[in-house]
């Protein structure tokens, strides 16, 4: 009885940990996939995600754009991923005039009604930061800066 319960306990532990490792690993990578591919953002040319200098020149024309309509981001809060040290580039276009505020980096820019505004700054801070419509207090994007 004694050793049997012990064995069962040990087996449970092993199963639990193996499950956690397998599931956890799977969960994480699949989540990453969805954030990069399942995005309504018009991403820069596929496969050239941020390594090397060449894409930077082409990316100039195709930066991700967040479209704001009626004070809401079209397609929900957008996730933009960057690596530390890269340039963070994105564009916000809005039907109404607003101030766009990137938290943490504390960068704010005005977007005119019916126009757009470009952000371009180095990714110095790691972590997840919000971009929001300052006046309405509505989050439009989440900037993920990976190390």
């Amino acid at each position: 009885m004694n050793t049997r319960t012990a064995l069962i306990g040990g087996a449970l532990v092993v199963v639990a940990v193996v499950l956690f490792v397998v599931l956890g690993g799977g969960e994480d990578s699949s989540n990453n996939d969805t954030t990069t591919s399942g995005n309504a953002v018009e991403n820069e040319a596929k496969g050239s995600g941020g390594n090397g200098k060449k894409p930077e020149t082409t990316a100039k024309q195709q930066v991700p754009t967040i479209v704001v309509r009626n004070g809401e981001p079209v397609g929900g809060v957008q996730t933009l991923e960057f690596s530390a040290g890269e340039e963070i580039r994105f564009r916000v276009s809005s039907d109404e005039a607003e101030e766009i505020h990137v938290h943490g980096y504390d960068i704010a820019k005005e977007v005119p009604a019916g126009g757009s505004v470009d952000f371009d700054f180095p990714a110095e801070l790691e972590g997840i930061y919000e971009a929001e419509l300052e006046g309405l207090g509505v989050q439009i994007a989440e900037l993920r800066i990976n190390p």
Binding site: M1, N2, T3, T5, A6, I8, G9, G10, L12, V13, V14, A16, V17, F20, V21, L23, G24, G25, E27, D28, S29, N31, N32, T35, V77, A84, H103, G104, D106, E124, L125, E126, G127, I128, Y129, E130, V138, Q139, E142, R144, I145, N146, P147
Partner: protein, 461 residues
């Protein structure tokens, strides 16, 4: 729809999820450490005796005497009053108002973290205790007798504190997530309501009685203080063996509920944006379908998930206790449930560190710069010349945060195993049976630690 729990509202920055490779390493280390612990455990209890080493009478008198008590009490009352004043009169912007950062970060996290190292630090600064004692002394001086109190019912134990903890976290993460963020005025009003309640209970049961059992913050910080190395006994300050004080802590009814509530509330706060986010979203839709408004639906759903988390965490512990009962020579279920509750305190602390360490480091910069110089967030006050300073987010890299998070969970796991092994040696004089009983607690600890790792690794929203 955007989610804005407290950490969000204050810091406007979140931790990146722990990457898969680190998760795997963490879980593997937990597994290896656990099996090592099973084979290499000691054979006589080591933490059951505190082995106190008292400090000199002079030092004790200086640090614990009446002048020091009055000074600390005044500091506590002043700062608490300042927080309430800032909350009521200051800006509604949560991140620019002294109140929220002071109450929810500096005090809520700071007292827990530092008490776990140094022993209970909240007691001398407890504003309600200070006011209660002052009123009691005033009453004594006028009436010429000590105030009469109702005897605190033994069975009630720490239950009021456990329920209060759930209520506090509800206010912090559930009420605050309902579309509108928890604003400083709501927090200050809640603090005033709680103060009235705490003082009334102190008048009813006596100041020290209520602080030992029912006052949420005394009991909560006191729980972590049991791990710390300094304590007091008969007015003398003493150094004791780390973690040893915890071994006698859980004998009061409701203690297990309190430590489980602590693990559950931290888990919930971590999971509500990550692991549970999709499920919560779905249930909100159903609740809305019943006919509730959006804010009400969010709050109802969050409350349900908070309670489910509490039930789940409690179930894991209960299963472990049930398992231990099957080992021959086991004491009663009741005794086991109470006897191993303290072994979860390090786990609760590890959860707290893993989830809030970075918030604490970043937000304390705000606390000691612009929130101190401009507590009301008026933009025109600058008491200490630091009102225009900001938070430097480069002081911690993402890697540093990950290692601290995973490291905290592993250390908490090891400490929990140590305390559980120690307690098993008391209940089962036979070493083999003691070890056999610990397969069960091991499973409980592995479950909690891996759940903690899992919560960290799931990408938030």
């Amino acid at each position: 729809m955007s989610w804005l729990p407290l950490a969000h509202a204050l810091a406007s920055r979140q931790d990146l999820p722990v990457p898969a490779w680190l998760f795997a390493w963490g879980a593997s280390i937990v597994l290896i450490v656990s099996f090592f612990a099973l084979s290499a455990g000691w054979r006589t209890p080591r933490f059951e005796q505190p082995h106190p080493r008292p400090f000199g009478a002079g030092l004790s008198r200086a640090l614990l005497g009446l002048p020091a008590q009055i000074l600390c009490g005044c500091i506590g009352v002043f700062l608490f009053g300042l927080a309430i004043y800032a909350g009521l009169q200051g800006t509604v912007a949560p991140d620019r108002n002294f109140a929220l950062t002071f109450l929810f970060v500096t005090c809520w996290l700071g007292f827990a973290f530092f008490s776990a190292i140094f022993g209970d630090l909240f007691r001398p600064f407890n504003p309600w205790r200070a006011v209660g004692r002052a009123v009691g002394a005033g009453f004594g001086a006028i009436a010429g007798q000590r105030p009469a109190h109702v005897t605190y019912p033994e069975w009630l134990g720490r239950w009021p504190a456990a329920v209060g903890l759930l209520a506090f976290v509800w206010l912090e993460v559930v009420y605050g997530s309902g579309g509108a963020i928890l604003d400083p005025q709501v927090a200050a009003t809640a603090a005033l309501v709680y103060s009235a309640y705490a003082l009334a209970m102190m008048a009813l049961f006596g100041v020290e009685e209520w602080c030992d059992r029912g006052e949420v913050f005394s009991v909560y910080f006191g729980m972590f203080g049991q791990l710390g190395i300094f304590g007091t006994r008969d007015g003398r300050l003493e150094r004791r063996r780390p973690f040893s004080a915890a071994t006698t802590w859980a004998t009061v009814p409701g203690s297990a509920a309190l430590v489980l509530a602590s693990i559950a509330t931290t888990s919930y706060d971590g999971a509500s944006e990550g692991a549970f986010a999709d499920a919560i979203e779905k249930v909100i839709g159903w609740v809305e379908g019943i006919g509730f408004g959006i804010t009400a639906s969010i709050r109802i759903t969050d409350t349900i998930f908070l309670l489910i988390t509490f039930a789940g965490v409690s179930l894991v512990y209960w299963l472990g206790v049930r398992g231990m009962r099957t080992v021959p020579g086991a004491p009663s279920l009741q005794k086991l449930r109470v006897g191993f509750a303290h072994t979860l305190i390090p786990i609760a602390l590890a959860y707290l560190v893993a989830h809030y360490f970075s918030l604490f480091v970043f937000q304390e910069q705000a606390q000691f710069t612009y929130l101190l110089s401009d507590p009301l967030g008026t933009g025109t006050t600058d008491l200490f010349g630091t009102a225009s300073a900001g938070v430097d987010y480069t002081v911690l890299t993402a890697n540093a945060i990950w290692y601290v998070q995973v490291g905290a969970l592993i250390v908490g796991h090891v400490l929990g195993l140590m305390l559980a092994h120690d307690r098993a040696l008391v209940y089962w004089p036979n070493y083999r049976k003691a070890t056999a009983s610990q397969y069960w607690m091991l499973a409980v600890m592995v479950a909690f630690t891996c759940f903690g790792l899992y919560l960290l690794s799931v990408s938030n929203s």
